[in-house]
């Protein structure tokens, strides 16, 4: 059940240039939050911005949750300015998270850029469910923006890196590294990142017979399935099912259910 709670900020520190990690004390939310779910954070008391901002749970701790975020615009700038001891209104947990099938032998997490945010909580849960840490592929523009490598290594994950400029790891995108890891029908892939990277990942999964879950993004207003602003096109043809809501039907979807050809990449940033 989602809550709307005023929570105390425990920490809000830089994680990389223009990226921060905020930990908030939220025992009720932490008890229920699942990897892949998110919260809507109120960034201002006034109406600039008016809407809350969706953020995935990076970690679900015993009494707290952590968010890892990129400073993009006004809302995230205001988040970045918040100090420990202040309170923030947190609405969550929301959405449908990742599902973990422990009968599958190999689990690979694939992240592009800030898409890495929900994956530490997932790696934790996969490790517990499968008694073995998953493999993780992290892609970023350049070395300075590579996030969470140490977090995954400390969990015992095998970590593969890719950067656009080759400053660390393989030169190229995360989906190229994934291809080299040769997923097969006994592999579960979980991906979060820019839409082109997730489409490429979905195609690799489809070709190799691997199962693939993707965590999508969209502009959101309510987070509760009411406004219908956050939809993406699914492969389901009938009028009532064509548009699926990222906030309540997702954000995690089976990659096969998304109509990747319908997505208009020109609107992505």
């Amino acid at each position: 059940m989602p809550y709307v709670l005023d929570c105390e900020i425990a920490a809000n520190d830089e994680a990389a240039p223009a990226h921060r990690r905020m930990r908030v004390c939220a025992p009720q939310i932490a008890r229920e939050a699942q990897p892949g779910q998110f919260a809507m954070l109120q960034t201002a008391d006034g109406y600039a911005p008016f809407l809350r901002r969706p953020m995935s749970f990076e970690r679900v701790l015993p009494e707290a949750v952590a968010f890892l975020y990129k400073v993009e615009g006004e809302g995230t700038r205001l988040l970045a300015a918040m100090r420990p001891g202040q309170t923030i209104s947190v609405h969550g947990p929301l959405g449908k998270g990742f599902s973990i099938d422990s009968t599958i032998s190999r689990h690979i997490l694939v992240a592009g850029g800030i898409g890495v945010a929900p994956l530490p909580a997932l790696a934790d849960a996969v490790t517990r469910a499968c008694r073995r840490p998953p493999d993780v592929v992290i892609g970023a523009r350049t070395k300075r923006f590579l996030l969470c490598g140490d977090v995954f290594r400390s969990m015992g994950c095998e970590v593969y890196l890719a950067t656009d400029d080759g400053s660390v790891g393989e030169k190229g995108v995360a989906s190229h590294v994934l291809e080299r890891l040769a997923p097969n029908p006994d592999t579960q892939i979980y991906a979060c990142g820019p839409m082109p990277m997730m489409r490429a990942t979905a195609q690799i999964a489809a070709r190799s017979g691997a199962a693939c879950q993707v965590s999508l993004e969209a502009q959101m207003a309510c987070g509760d399935g009411a406004c219908l602003g956050c939809v993406v096109e699914s492969i389901f043809e009938n009028e009532g099912e064509k548009m699926v809501r990222v906030c309540t039907d997702g954000p995690v979807f089976d990659a096969q259910h998304i109509d990747w050809n319908a997505h208009n990449f020109a609107y992505d940033r």
């Binding site: 406004c227 219908l228 319908a262 020109a266």
Partner: protein, 309 residues
């Protein structure tokens, strides 16, 4: 003494003057996990059409200063699913239901109203004659929303009046030169009340990509940004009407709602604010009761039109 909060819109009794705006509260289910939705004067549902609709291509939503631009395009489950799944939930929870309907012809509105009445799936009908986001009606970029043409407002309202005994509300658009004309047309055709305002047409462009921020190019603006415009339209319309007005547009708090009552609204609807604060409408009911007690006003109806000029 507890002040009276009950209001009437024609034969519709609302236990307090606060409902929610169509399209901002789903079918009630989405918000019932936060509070008792029967505590509201009424729940106004997302516009329903005879058949389910997928709505417009994404992106459909973008934030603008103190507001939201949306081009949802009336995605909805359709009448049959509403009757089978949504109305029973609202009834079970004891909610008073204002069923917002949309059609492309008067016939469609009439069929929706008749079937809702037969199934006891509505306590009032709100006819959405003012959706700016439907491209099948050639309205998305053209001038012709039904609610922009008083003669058509009269035609649709008359047809609906003949089709149903349920209290009839007509929802109007602010995208007109003089709101009094369509409001009077609805009244003369037998409507029990008018709801105003729907969203103001607007647009936003991303200067980096040169693309409109909405795939539909244009959308409807809502939220606190439109509140002063909405308030003035409620004031304009209520002064010439004998029938009640449900006022909406950027209402976020009890003091906002009170402004609308003072300007002449008999009831109010909370829209976009529910997105930010899921129990905003309930908090406004409470804030209104506190205000009446604090000012020793025995009846909320005493506030209606009580602007001091």
């Amino acid at each position: 003494m507890k002040p009276n909060l009950e209001v009437r819109i024609g034969a519709l009794r609302m236990k307090n003057p606060v409902t929610v705006a169509s399209g901002t509260f789903g079918y009630g289910q989405e918000y019932a996990r936060y509070f008792d939705i029967a505590a509201l004067g009424a729940v106004t549902i997302k516009s329903i059409t005879l058949k389910p609709r997928a709505g417009n291509a994404p992106p459909r939503l973008v934030e603008t200063p103190a507001g939201i631009l949306n081009a949802i395009g009336l995605q909805n489950v359709g009448l049959d699913a509403y009757l089978a799944e949504k109305a029973p939930f609202l009834r079970k929870h004891g909610a008073t239901i204002i069923a917002n309907i949309y059609g492309s012809q008067p016939d469609e509105y009439c069929e929706l109203a008749r079937r809702l009445e037969e199934a006891h799936a509505a306590d009032a009908i709100e006819a959405n004659l003012s959706c700016p986001n439907v491209h099948d009606a050639a309205t998305a970029r053209g001038p012709a929303l039904v609610a922009q043409i008083p003669e058509r407002v009269a035609e649709y309202s008359r047809a609906l009046r003949a089709a149903t005994k349920l209290p009839l509300l007509v929802k109007l658009t602010p995208n007109v030169a003089d709101i009094r004309e369509p409001a009077l047309a609805a009244q003369e055709a037998g409507a029990d009340g008018v709801s105003l305002i729907n969203t103001l047409m607007g647009m936003a462009i991303d200067p980096e990509t040169r693309r409109p921020r909405l795939a539909n190019v244009i959308g409807g603006l809502s939220g606190p940004a439109i509140r002063p415009v909405a308030l003035k339209m409620v004031w304009d319309a209520s002064r010439v009407l004998q029938i009640p007005v449900i006022g909406m547009g950027g209402i976020c708090t009890a003091p906002d709602a009170i402004q609308f009552l003072l300007a002449g609204a008999n009831a109010v609807a909370v829209g976009s604010m529910s997105f930010r604060q899921p129990d905003a409408a309930l908090q406004i009911v409470r804030g209104l009761a506190d205000y009446l007690e604090h000012h020793q006003i025995p009846d909320v109806n005493d506030l209606v039109g009580a602007i001091a000029t």
